[in-house]
Symmetry: D3
Subunit: 276 residues, 6 copies
């Protein structure tokens, strides 16, 4: 994300780097194939992390995430039904939790319902529905990034008071002071902090603790592009694959990322200027 | 149930009737094969009846039992996890409801969980759990008969106030003033009444409105016994099949049902006195 | 549907109303998001209604819709595999029925098979397949609207004779004398009539008996558009959202619906004339 | 089965053989653990064999057992819901067939329904139900052995005429002129014959064509008994394990199988006479 | 496929035939609706054929394809996750096998995982993954056609040595000396041959042994096009349906298939030249 | 377990304690209802613990337990299919792992297969099968207690060398130097140690880190017994409930546990001596 990292951007230009933004490359359906594997891993591991922080050995209140016959099940709320939220839902249901997932797109919720055989509750992402869902939850997983919009927290500090003491929020989106007013980045070494008796975890790069899996999954996604560039040559590859071309941020010292250029007052070059 | 029907009992004796109590006959596993089909039908139809009474066309509050993507699901509480409750659970889950079932036997709950792939919530049948469950429910199905114990209502009149207005209780057990303090029998013609804004339905013979299905299911269950009596003769049949023998209440004017004899001050005859 | 309601259309123009046709608004995938919730509710409730009319308490032949171990299952035929038919299929299978669904699009049938794990029979919508399927069915749900084509009934009066006496047809499409030759509208108060021993039900607005659920589901679908208009202003909203624009039938007394204009001899205005 | 093989029985006695009847050994639940693996294999392979004989390459009518979207599914009838029938049902459903299974025990049918998630039709084993089921079937698998009762064929020759031409009967029970009037043993080399246009297959030892799987499965079942005898010694083993003892047919030339002794006029010795 | 059959192509032109290539006609989603049914049948039947060739009665090593409690399950590898591979996966899982499917498109694999509830292993189609998967497999189904690329066999002759003796390869793609180096066409009469102890089967037209099913499935797919041509006339039909038009290879003696024209040095006519 | 704790046993006698052994109390089916909840929790949490130790943040090799499309799935081996192993299997499958479970009872394996819809591999518990299974596994969960039999380790130190470096063994049975030769108790504070590159975890009381869940689950199981004793009085309760009576180890200073008496040279009193 060159638009967020000025130093790196300037260094890339100075050193005449050619580089792609993994998270911008698109496939034919408009998805982001190089982003997807890490999204899925983060979503799955968020639930496993949450299960840890509910145990006393990690400072939690002593709840086993999952279900036991005859006692009230653990409840999980997931904000967002994209690839991260979808992955979280699969794991939470696999563990036997009651899962509520909230999203503004009914069609995404419907698709997820169909995949999971109706085993989860879906809710339109409204403030009322969020409040009702989080106050009964043991674990809240946030996957929504408000993209810098700090005005409309989906979970305000005030709402924390209605939640059960010792419940856990895992903020996969790492949207500091965004979706969750009280969210701020943590680290793998010091993963959690507590606000108003609610445990918060907002590790930026969750898949980093499973590097073997992450490497295999990411390699598998990038390999087809590497083969394409190797086989066709760089120019042909980016000319033939419009999705790959979208990810081209730097070419031999030229900056092709408009927003980054604007943000840092740098020169912006279009693709067609370079590859006529 | 001869112990509840003095007139019929005396008439049977006077007319030297030989008769079995369907609900007492046992199979090899201690189950009641002649009771089972009607129990299952009652359990399934209770949920369908409940769905009616939630619709405005039947005077309800206008809720569709089931689920719609993005809105809170309908909730169903089932008291008891015997054959009736089990059948209710299958249908309610089939309709897409969130189902909570309460029972005192954890192993029965576990069996049901396994059958339904973990798609329902199970709770130990305690007062706290009942209160928590019914207050969020749209439909409560009671399948527990307190057997004349009128002291310990599982749902008292006071609890109705915590329930959602316009929600429905279907009392399949027809346990008047028993499990549910406010329950009293209704009829197919006049199936419901309302107490404290809660709709009650306690039709005694629910399968009666699906006589074709009921007849086929009951016939199928009784046929093996009829064939046994036809092929072996009456005496051999009851001597060879101890489960069938348990159901024998009257034999040529003799009363073999101890509790009925005690209740009405009648002579009691043991099986072995008759069939030496 | 302005093209079917001349009086309302003229009144809208006279009073300079700005109005959208809910059933014409499109989402990005070409679906009708404002039509969908009511379609799904109608499809689900059609099966519940059908279950009623099979019971003797509603004048039916006394069959419980669903299954009982050891007796032949109840059979349901669904004409059409769009959102209504899909919803009917889910509920009918949830109740334990054997379901056959007919459609001309094999890919729609395939999608439904995948969603339901192969638990239903799918058939190409041909006359032979219809005849074979309805003659073994207890319940037929029609979801196909022939759109005024009265020549080619999919179920003719003659075919009724091959059906089982006392079986039920619920015509969700309300296609009078269309898909089903013998279909004519009924009402919630007087929901059924009988032709050749087959019970017919063709209530036009089925979700109307569950207004609470219907309101929540419809509000959830319309809210994003209302927010869009409120936030962006009317003009921007319809300019930016081509799907919303498609639904604009009236704008300050101008008629933008071509077919309605033709039907009633009214002036027709194009969108681009109004919003240059 | 010593009672069916006089020559072998006499030879065992003469040679002072000690031998168990695999099919008589019982486990704690009264099951036959040494019979079970072959029963299951036979049940599974019967459906695979049936799929062959429906193909033209094996002389059949050219039907693919399974399902194709949009065309009527293939139908399979299974007589008997013991371990063989249960195994056949799993495979036939796995292939996508519509399966009807008939049995006299409702509780066995119920158990199977629960295992298979309601994906099959269950019917009480009556003559009417058999006739209705086989006439729509492409494949009939018989698993019921009438045990020499030749009077009451479940499928008579007359019934074949109502079946579809070219459909297949696989008689796993190999009950010659028993359950199926027209059944007689066939061989792996010459597996089928045709009566009234219905293909019959009644290979006695179906698992014989998958000896590797059969050996592993059978070894696994017998190993615990072999270890028991090896570790405890023969006498202790049969004294301690009443189920194993039931299978003891020959002990050092003594015949412990009552029915065989009666059938062939041989001396019968009780277990307690030998192991006092 | 005119580009592979010169004689037929010339004969069509000479006789002024108008003809469509079934496998080229496209539907709105870019799929090949006339190719799909045979693809699915071939995929399903490939697994059934494979099960045969694992039995000793067909010369195999004596393994039952499927699973038996307590012994290692049979393993199936499927190369390709298109409609053929997808169909093979459904049947192999239905039989109880452990299935690994390999493809280069992660999104196709993900879709299949979702359909099958996570019951199969998916692998990126790389040489390492192929080697690891086939060496533990009992059955390998190939569905990938390298389209004449003979240089890069996915399974080389050398790899056969790492496979289990007596395991079976069914090459549905019939890609002689292509995907599988050792593959060459076989026939229904002589369906298999053995290379390095691995049984090969590469029958070109697998659905041909189930002609009844094949005819029904294919007819159902072609019928809508036939009706369209019948109702609209030939010219209108091909003008209105761009997918149908793509399949038009011959029109009254003109050749509209570019590659065939190039291959055989024939005149090529464009659609627009003919239908102005 | 009084037979393992001499000090506690003597103290109980000295202080005239009346006490039950939770793990010995039996229900009607011979199960141990007071042991069951903790067994299930331990089994479920063992898999969650294992997932931690595979992450680098806990010193593991960096693998995410579960599955990612297109890369080889993680493999889990579970030794033992009792309530602990069963619970582990459910969670591991819920996470998307490939699971192999080994047991000597085929009927237990069959029951589990049926519960999990055939989604796991079952193997007879033999040395060969153990070796084959653990060498491909990322996580091994042991639930088998050899009960002091130190001669026959199921996993010897030598076998560790064939396992993948960095894989994890969680020994729920805490069978030091028993089932797993290299197993020795660890603690929640210091949960793991490494032998030959294999991470070992053998925390004795796993549910202790989820005390809230554990307390609810255990209370629910004990409550019926407490109510029974409270309502009936102590003597009546133990006389009426033979399963409860089996758990009575101490009564007012008398020791009713035979093995403990033998182990420590203490007086043994029978139940009937105390409650005549």
């Amino acid at each position: 994300m060159p638009e967020r990292h000025e130093g790196v951007t300037r260094a890339f230009i100075k050193n005449q780097i050619t580089g792609f933004g993994y998270e911008i490359v698109e496939d034919n359906e408009g998805g982001n194939p190089l982003l997807l594997p890490m999204s899925e891993m983060a979503g799955k591991m968020a639930v496993l992390l949450g299960s840890n922080f509910l145990q006393t050995s990690h400072g939690g209140k002593g709840v086993m995430l999952g279900s036991m016959t005859g006692i009230p099940p653990t409840e999980v709320t997931i904000l967002g039904a994209g690839s991260v939220g979808n992955a979280s839902a699969h794991v939470a249901i696999g563990l036997g939790c009651n899962v509520t997932i909230l999203n503004r797109s009914i069609s995404k919720l419907k698709k997820l319902e169909s995949e999971l055989g109706g085993r989860l509750d879906t809710l339109y992402l409204s403030s009322d529905n969020i409040i009702n869902s989080i106050q009964k939850s043991d674990l809240v997983v946030n996957t929504i990034d408000q993209m810098g919009n700090k005005d409309t927290h989906l979970i305000t500090r005030g709402m924390l008071k209605s939640m059960k003491k010792g419940s856990v929020i895992v903020d996969v989106a790492n949207d500091e002071n965004g979706t969750i007013e009280t969210s701020r980045p943590t680290t793998h070494d010091d993963p959690i902090y507590t606000v108003d008796d609610i445990i918060h975890c907002a590790i930026p790069n969750i898949p980093g603790i499973a590097p073997q899996t992450a490497t295999m999954a990411l390699t598998e996604a990038t390999l087809p592009y590497i083969l394409k560039i190797a086989n066709q040559g760089f120019k042909e590859a980016v000319l033939n694959d419009t999705g790959l071309r979208k990810g081209l941020c730097f070419f031999e010292g030229n900056l092709l990322h408009k927003k980054a250029a604007e943000n840092y007052g740098l020169d912006y070059t279009t693709f067609s200027e370079l590859f006529k």
